[in-house]
Symmetry: C2
Subunit: 541 residues, 2 copies
């Protein structure tokens, strides 16, 4: 199917594509249809305003949804639209789960008891979880469009941002522009030389070698002799030593490229391709005002359906239905029980593995099999947007081999006066565990200390900060489900399969771990199957 | 100086940079100081809120500014701030010149008499002239910040936009993502093979060859054996045949890269580097609501200083002052005369060369020496934003070898319902002359006809269009001054040098032709010199 679709996935075959989709839809039901449409890049086409739809009647059946993250919200929204009675239990006092935004005045207490109060000024925020949306995440974007969540461009690659290595260029940060241009230039020059020395004769025809040389000159900014050297061509990529200006004072001066040796040994090339990954390719988006606008928009569609502050303690099922026991997440107290015909459980496996649940061994083993990734984000507020004012860095990401990994500048409010908030650290793996083990204020202090190596303005301009270590987040105990190849082969299908009346959804039940799109598409997939099962059994118990 | 600056142009040397700037400022005056600051990327630093400033007193001298484009507006604004009496004569009924936006209801009559009325819906527009601002154009951006002109990101490179060649892949458009990934992948594989075959031994040390191989694998998405092949690595760049999804239906399928021969022979690589040019590198901007927000903002700073509809017919000077004769540009009638001690003339050379002016032979020859580029832009309104809805193309540019050259999608109002306007053609050179020679409605028809090869939705969704051929624009007779190397060597200095009481400014008096930054920096440069001359002569005649 994939190949056939690929052949169709170009303009010109619109009618054919639609016919194909109709066939897929008839054969496979809504969820697969949506998936197929995503593959074709058509999912949001105007005549598919609401691309996901469960066909057939719910016949009064009820569904208990555990978790009001994007998977749970999607399931609740779509099931309700199809006629199900839906109740959602949510641990937090807000919708969204990891779809979460911290603003000035927000209080956040992590596992271990440390409480931070966010000190950001009005209008500034940190998205501790997801913070960007690829243009091909059609399900997330479809709901944004449907619910009127305003979007703005998220700037991933910024040629004027910095690449920093502690042992590269004496520790001095370089502009992305310079390293990118010089790497491409040297690669092109080397390949051009190999071509001229006939090293490609066994690989590429003579005719194509001529095209290759022409393309390398263009693409690598080589001179007439296929050299990557100081001159107009290279300066028009890496920038000038003295930029062109006006009048008598405007004559430009070319800049001197770094040598191939310096570029290679700097290892700054390791992050050059970050924006070439299909998940980071332009165009990317962020909701205006914070990622939680999506969760809030879903919640507005579900009046009275969500019970907040409900901590699930037990999940039981039998042939008649499903029951979830819960207590007040803040005050504890008496256990209460919610029940329904069916259950869609979106609780992260890291938490779910500690909740008693009557499911068979295959699903129970799958739930226990997936470790959760460590991750830390630190938001830093500064007294002014010095990155814009001093350095002309507007949005985008600087990378470093320091334990903060990166600094990301806000892709919004360009040129606005007053304070500014940037992402001062976004860390995974071992360094995330180290940071998580620190007190929050220590994480912030570290982010400022390391960031000073990229931006000497840090100490003078720092105002306040907030740090979220995902292994201490009470509602997830980790960032996202880390599937190894082996775990996926052994357990993924068992995690997906509906166990009696209980079905699982969430990014952990998808091939797009850590992304909101995975959560939503997992919900689409599972409620499609649940719905067919419910219809087959007459809906209710 | 260039090299010294480059060394300082990294964070860490803030104090040193400031000391350097102070020295430059003392030695060379404001304009050079600004230029130096631009080179350092510091021009908008908060302690230089208004980086350009003329030092010293105007002593009551007056300046006549001809043309209210960005060069004239800048000169008028800065000279007035320095105490000069300033009068501006402007041919059009609006400020901005080529800083120009067409909206629904606007009427535009070109040379030859054809009149178009723009039929765009409310909120949509075409910028016939400049349409994007690089982040390093610090002078333009500085005024935007100073005057509160809101900016949003302009999306130049879109991995999901199209590359189209009439003879490439049977005329079927390809995604930028596929060609970009495959070109880099094949280049990387070929260079890796050369390296392994020891073809680089004379060029790169063995140690660096290991680094090169490692970098190529990362950067080119090669597999373990340094092959660019169908698999996870390549699909994570070029996209999947079937994208990863959720639940049981979410398993991805890898896509098949194009062969090196197909990629090279397609010639679609010719536009891959467009976004790597330092003038097109992220972050780019556009003013919210249209480029003319900048001209309007300048004009608001100059109440009563600008006389609109004033067509200059003669420019004379003697030892006592400058006089410009003008007539009403719409109604003609009686010639009137404006006079002042000095004149800054920003009229494009294409027009100025036909206006009698008392200047010496060197400047007169320079004025006659610069031909103006041909360019055409066509704005097309469609009934819906099908590029977003059907194809997930948000902003950015598709390229083609058809005579329209490119299609650019709006970088604003993403997901907005209703109609949408895109740039349906942006053409230079011979094809621009051909299009300009047609009637406006014919240009629009051609743009729709050609664009249909990229987007089959065109004929069904087309609503209306407007076309600007710059050689028929009454106030410029062309798009921008095209300096050959030879013309610049022979005439540029003579164009810059103040002739008696007359000084020239505009993009044509800069090393940044066609860009607004060139116009502004040329004004900064020349009014700095004019001011010194005025002070030296006691200001007035």
């Amino acid at each position: 199917m994939g190949e056939a679709m690929k052949m169709q996935a170009i303009p010109g075959g619109a009618m054919t594509r639609r016919q194909l989709l109709a066939k897929i839809g008839m054969a496979a039901g809504g969820a697969v249809m949506y998936q197929a449409m995503s593959s074709l890049g058509m999912a949001a086409e105007s005549n598919h305003r609401d691309p996901f739809r469960l066909e057939g009647e719910a016949k009064g059946a009820s569904v208990l949804v555990l978790g009001a993250g994007l998977a749970g919200l999607t399931a609740a929204y779509e099931l309700r639209k199809a006629g199900y009675k839906v109740q959602v239990l949510e641990y937090n006092a807000r919708p969204g789960g990891r779809n979460w935004t911290l603003r000035g005045g927000d209080r956040y207490t992590e596992l271990g008891g440390a409480t931070q109060e966010c000190g950001f000024d009005e209008g500034h925020y940190l998205n501790p979880g997801p913070w960007r949306i690829p243009h091909h995440h059609r399900a997330v974007l479809g709901y944004c469009k449907q619910f009127g969540v305003a979007l703005e461009a998220f700037n991933q690659v910024n040629y004027n941002a910095l690449l920093h290595g502690q042992h590269a260029f004496g520790g001095k940060p370089q502009r992305f522009r310079d390293i990118d241009a010089d790497y491409k230039g040297h690669v092109s020059e080397l390949l051009a030389k190999c071509t001229q020395q006939r090293a490609l004769d066994q690989l590429v025809s003579r005719q194509d070698q001529e095209l290759l040389l022409e393309s390398l000159r263009n693409w690598g900014a080589l001179d007439r002799d296929f050299g990557y050297v100081k001159g107009r061509a290279s300066s028009e990529r890496r920038g000038f030593a003295r930029y062109p200006g006006g009048g008598l004072s405007g004559a430009p001066e070319f800049s001197e490229p770094f040598s191939v040796q310096d570029v290679l040994r700097s290892r700054l090339w390791t992050t050059l391709a970050a924006g070439n990954n299909y998940e980071m390719q332009t165009t990317m988006f962020q909701p205006v005002g914070g990622m939680d606008q999506i969760g809030k928009a879903f919640a507005r569609q579900l009046p009275d359906a969500i019970r907040y502050n409900a901590k699930v303690t037990r999940i039981e099922q039998d042939e008649r239905g499903v029951r979830a026991a819960w207590v007040d997440a803040e005050r504890g107290g008496e256990e209460q029980v919610a029940s329904a015909d069916w259950c869609v459980c979106t609780i992260p496996l890291s938490v779910l593995s500690r909740i008693p649940m009557t499911v068979g061994e295959p699903m129970a083993n799958a739930i226990a099999a997936v470790p959760y990734a460590a991750s830390v984000k630190v938001g830093l507020q500064f007294k002014r947007r010095f990155w814009e004012e001093d350095e002309a860095i507007y949005g985008g990401i600087s990378y470093t081999d320091l334990p903060i990994t990166l600094i990301s500048y806000p892709s919004t409010g360009y040129h606005s006066p007053g304070k500014g908030v940037l992402l001062g650290a976004y860390v995974w793996g071992l360094e995330a565990f180290e940071l998580t083990s620190m007190k929050p204020e220590e994480r912030v202090r570290k982010a400022v200390e390391y960031g000073t190596q990229l931006h000497p303005q840090y100490p003078r301009e720092f105002d306040n900060g907030i740090a979220v270590g995902w292994h201490r987040v009470p509602f997830t105990h980790g960032c996202f489900g880390m599937w190894s190849e082996q775990a996926r082969a052994e357990h993924y299908q068992n995690l997906c399969r509906i166990d009696g009346r209980i079905a699982l959804a969430g990014e952990h039940v998808s091939y797009i771990p850590a992304w909101q799109e995975g959560a939503i598409l997992s919900a689409h997939d599972v409620i499609g199957r649940l719905h067919r099962k419910a219809m087959a059994t007459g809906g209710r118990a």
